[in-house]
């Protein structure tokens, strides 16, 4: 089915909306075109000395990292003096293209402080621009190097002026308290004398730089080498190599502005500076430019210069600001250098660094800083008034010189001012001064001892070596030893100086000791300090030994600890200890070894006597020192014996009476005349009375071997001994002359009846020839001698006491020696003989006619004639006794 519709007539639209599209595009294009024409840039020409590092189309112009232009072309200038670089600048840069605008070439730079323009390494060099003022221009002369500053950078750009660059370089860090806060961006010469260094402080630190900040160089390594050591200081590694600048600021000062100019100092000291003061002195020796001013070891200033004045030299010193409050009118300056003395070198560092000027602030509260001072040559002694002065005395100088230190616990607390003899010349007197703070150490019982530089103490306990410092060796030093007392020393009293602490202790001990004096014949092998033992415990020591001229003996003074005083109240004896005492007898060997210390130094023992042994005291306060314990306990009394030189007497020989030991010989000595011996001997105390009488008889007993036997056979083993006979005299003596031969009655008991027989011839009579009474021995011949006239022989005999009544004036004595042979024609042979002993040794018979009565008693010493013929009636006498 076909349905034909009439065509619909549509009015043709003239313009489709699509036409907006080209219109928009056109508009856009037009805008772009206009914009590009507008922003097409400004073409300028920059004259560079050379085109090195500049590439056409590549090299950009940058301002603060922003690209503002590009090199379009490079052409040689007409004069062949460089190149003209055509640069198309961004249209926005147009306002900056003025007369004073600067262009320069930036090349990548790698230095120790860092790599700069790393981007330039890749992007190539670029041209830096610093906008300037003036009329618009299109031709510029390029700078040879970057201009010093680029205002507009965040942060502060400052300029430092210095007379030399030092080791600073572009990029050298700026430190504030060792924190890098910026860096040197450039430097340039300003005229002939100054270097201007531009430094950039980063924004966050910009407020640290003040108008009055002080800048100084910390470049490199600062080596402070002195005798006190080497001090190396530096800021950072980078500053060692590339130098650096540091600064200090006053908090309250106004902030620095861009472009502010500061001085760059060589060092902190120079930077900080100070006020000028004048020091007047007589001559400038030792004071140089740079000489330091020191207060308590702290550098407070420096000498800057010195100059001649009409009456001397004036040195101008910089006194550092921070110490100016110390400067007062009465402040004192004095020159102090190294001091070389025997006590050592004081301030050795100053040998190298030169003298320093010491400064002591005054007390004047006025803080107006005066500027004129006088340089003293000697240190003032301002503490003098407060120091404690003291005198100490000593018996002799211990090697302490003026200037010696006084120490307490090895700390110096003062000085010895002077050493001199006391007025009476009896002691040495030292003047001391003590630091005021130590004055309280001086108490009434304090004392001083010298310090020995080297003390070697070798004892059985070991060897200890103590040494002190060198000054002690040279000048000596004195140590203060505190006493126990709390009372301070009274004024005008002096304290003692002892040779050592031991001596002091000894001294003080002595004050607490009981003193005794012993009398000894000799030095007794003891010395000062020898110990005194009681039961092998030390109770004291020998204090001194003195020769007493009057009594020709030694007085040994003992000091016994007080606690042992009760011992001394008792009867006591002292003897000296031998190192080793060997008592060898047939009864055994007794070895006694003294305590070793005593053995070496000699020692004395105290022993107590049993009350039994106590002799009536001789009322003598002095005690004897005995040779050994036995003698002591026996309270032996010394005697001296003189013997002929022929006597074979030894020390230790006994002194016997009737075979009993009553003493002993301690020493035998040949006298100078070679004829006699002197034996020192002791009598045991209990017997001494008898044997020290002036008529006591001493004789030598030696072994005698004869037909009748061996006499004193024990002497064969022990050697000869001394026999003694007691005396009766009331006078005592200490010196005896001993006979070689014993007196006849040496061994005769006291109460025996002693008499003398007289005969024309000795016959077979001998010492020991017995006297028989009815065949029983009642006595014997004790000795014989020629009568003074030489016409008879006198035989000393005795009758033992129990038989003495058997003999009286009526008794007849006859010789019964040998064999009597009576041969008669009628009577036959008659042989008479006594005992076999009489046969051998002879004998004497006695018979008594009458009964013994007082009237006919035989007196001692009676001389009786010895009969030869026996009358028969004698043998029949038998009186009842």
């Amino acid at each position: 089915m076909t349905q034909i519709e009439s065509p619909k007539v549509v009015k043709k639209k003239l313009f489709s909306p699509i036409w907006l599209l080209p219109i928009v595009a056109l508009a856009l294009g037009a805008w772009l075109g206009i914009k590009s024409i507008k922003e097409s840039g400004v073409e300028i020409e920059i004259h560079f000395p050379s085109a090195t590092g500049i590439d056409v189309g590549k090299t950009l112009v940058k301002y603060q990292g922003l690209t503002v232009g590009k090199v379009k072309d490079i052409g040689i200038d007409e004069a062949l003096k460089g190149v003209n670089v055509k640069v198309v600048m961004d249209y926005r840069a147009k306002p900056f293209l003025n007369n004073e605008t600067l262009f320069w070439l930036v090349t990548p730079k790698a230095s120790i402080t860092g790599v700069e323009g790393l981007d330039a390494l890749f992007s190539g060099n670029y041209i830096g621009i610093q906008p300037g003022k003036g009329n618009p221009s299109t031709f510029f002369e390029a700078e040879r190097q970057a201009p010093p500053m680029q205002i507009g950078t965040e942060g502060v750009m400052i300029e430092l002026t210095s007379d030399k660059l030092g080791s600073l370089d572009v990029g050298s860090p700026i430190f504030f308290r060792q924190i890098p806060v910026g860096s040197v961006v450039s430097y340039r010469l300003a005229g002939n004398t100054n270097v201007v260094i531009s430094a950039f402080i980063q924004e966050q630190y910009a407020q640290l730089v003040k108008k009055n900040s002080l800048f100084w160089n910390v470049s490199g390594v600062k080596v402070d080498a002195s005798l006190t050591g080497i001090k190396v200081s530096s800021e950072s590694l980078a500053s060692i190599l590339a130098g650096g600048v540091t600064f200090s600021s006053d908090d309250n000062a106004p902030k620095a502005q861009n472009g502010d100019r500061f001085s760059l100092y060589d060092s902190e000291a120079n930077a900080i500076g100070g006020i000028d003061i004048n020091l007047a002195m007589e001559d400038g020796n030792g004071v140089e430019k740079g000489t330091r001013i020191i207060y308590r070891g702290i550098h407070v200033g420096t000498i800057v210069s010195k100059q001649l004045t009409t009456n001397g030299v004036t040195a101008i010193a910089k006194f550092e600001y921070q110490y100016t409050h110390l400067l007062t009118n009465d402040g004192v300056f004095w020159l102090e250098g190294a001091e070389i003395s025997l006590a050592g070198i004081k301030n050795p560092g100053r040998l190298l660094t030169g003298s320093v000027i010491n400064f002591l602030p005054g007390t004047d509260p006025q803080t107006v800083t005066p500027s004129n001072f006088v340089l003293q040559s000697k240190a003032p002694d301002l503490l003098k008034s407060k120091k404690r002065f003291l005198t100490i005395t000593s018996t002799e100088n211990m090697g302490i010189a003026a200037g010696a230190e006084i120490r307490y616990k090895q700390l110096p607390i003062g000085t010895v001012l002077s050493v001199k003899l006391t007025q009476d010349l009896s002691a040495v007197e030292y003047q001391l001064e003590l630091q005021p703070e130590f004055a309280s150490l001086v108490r009434s019982d304090s004392y001083f001892v010298p310090e020995s530089a080297l003390a070697i103490e070798a004892s059985l306990d070991g060897v200890s070596v103590k040494s002190r410092d060198f000054t002690t060796l040279t000048k000596g030093a004195v140590s203060l030893i505190l006493g126990k007392s709390k009372t301070p020393l009274a004024a005008n009293t002096s304290l003692p100086l002892f040779s050592s602490i031991d001596a002091a202790t000894a001294f003080f001990d002595r004050q607490h000791k009981v003193h005794l004096t012993l009398i000894s014949q000799d030095g007794a092998d003891v010395s000062q300090g020898s110990p005194i033992y009681y039961k092998k415990m030390q109770i004291g020591m020998v204090e001194s030994i003195n020769w007493q001229n009057k009594t020709e003996d030694f007085a040994i003074k003992l000091a016994i600890d007080k606690q042992f005083q009760p011992l001394l109240q008792k009867p006591k004896v002292f003897w000296r200890n031998s190192a080793i005492e060997v008592n060898a007898s047939l009864a055994g060997i007794d070895v006694a070894v003294a305590p070793l210390q005593g053995a070496l130094k000699g020692s004395i023992s105290l022993g107590l006597l049993d009350s039994v042994n106590i002799k009536p005291n001789k009322a003598s306060t002095t005690l004897k020192l005995y040779e050994n314990k036995q003698l002591a306990l026996a309270q032996a009394q010394p005697i001296r014996l003189t013997l002929p030189a022929s006597a074979k007497l030894d020390a230790k020989a006994a002194i016997r009476y009737q075979g009993h030991q009553v003493g002993e010989v301690s020493q035998v000595k040949l006298n100078a005349d070679l004829n006699t011996l002197t034996a020192t001997a002791y009598l045991y105390g209990e017997y001494a009375d008898h044997f020290s009488r002036s008529d006591s008889e001493y004789h030598l007993v030696d072994a005698q071997i004869s037909l009748i036997g061996i006499k004193a056979p024990e002497t064969l083993i022990t050697g000869p001994y001394i026999g003694v006979l007691p005396g009766k005299s009331s006078q005592t003596a200490a010196h005896f002359i001993a006979n070689v031969v014993a007196s006849s009655y040496a061994n005769v008991p006291e109460d025996a009846l002693k008499f003398t027989l007289e005969d024309a011839n000795l016959g077979s009579m001998k010492v020991g020839t017995p006297i028989f009474f009815r065949g029983i021995k009642i006595g014997q011949i004790d000795g014989y001698s020629l009568s003074t006239q030489g016409n008879s022989v006198l035989m000393q005999a005795h009758i033992e006491s129990q038989y003495s009544h058997l003999v009286n004036q009526s008794s007849q004595f006859w010789d019964a020696s040998g064999i009597k042979v009576d041969v008669g024609i009628f009577s036959g042979a008659k042989i008479e003989a006594g005992s076999l002993e009489t046969l051998l040794a002879g004998g004497i018979n006695v018979a008594t006619k009458a009964t013994t009565q007082d009237s006919n008693r035989l007196a001692n010493g009676t001389i009786i004639t010895l009969q030869h013929k026996v009358q028969n009636e004698w043998q029949e006498w038998a009186p009842i006794q």
Binding site: Q3, S16, I18, L21, P22, G29, L32, K58, F122, S123
Partner: protein
Amino acid sequence: MVITSMKQQGKDIGLCLCRVCQQLNTTGRTHCLRCETELKVRDYGSLQKSWALLITAAILLVPANLYPITILTNQGQVRHDTIFSGIVHLVHSDMIPIAIIVFIASILVPWVKIIGLSIYLCAISFNLPISKKKLMVGFHVIEWIGRWSMLDLFVISLTVALVNMGQLLDAKPAPAATAFALVILLTQLAAKILDTRLLWDRLENQDDTN
């Protein structure tokens, strides 16, 4: 219906082709039988649209060629390349074949397309006496070649995606890339939107001998 002559057209016998589904409709219908698309026997308005798009493309061709198309950062060195400077750079780098390809795709093709299209449009609008055969060949060439002109943008987009190493090596499209892309797009649209039957109408009416 008998097709009397080769020169007889659909509209002459009351037939009209749906441009969308190729359904043959009678000219009386306003909408397609099958797809309900609006039917137009001839879209005379397309000529106008095509012209507008073409002119826009032509305008955009200017910034596309004058402005840099890529920003290449090579080791910190930034390089702005226009299409032409890029080709010159390739030539300097002794990559002449690539330079030729890029030249054809980026310069020759857009220009040829725009010029060609404008010739067609002129031919339609002003009845220029141009040989039907030449137009046919030209049309085929433009149709075929047009798609290749996106090559340059394709390379740029690939490069931008692949080369991204910050300061060392980086490629970025520059403003010209947009313009260039618009040129290609608009020319394509212009070619597409043109109701080519208008051209054939004219050709049919003309003596086809020359």
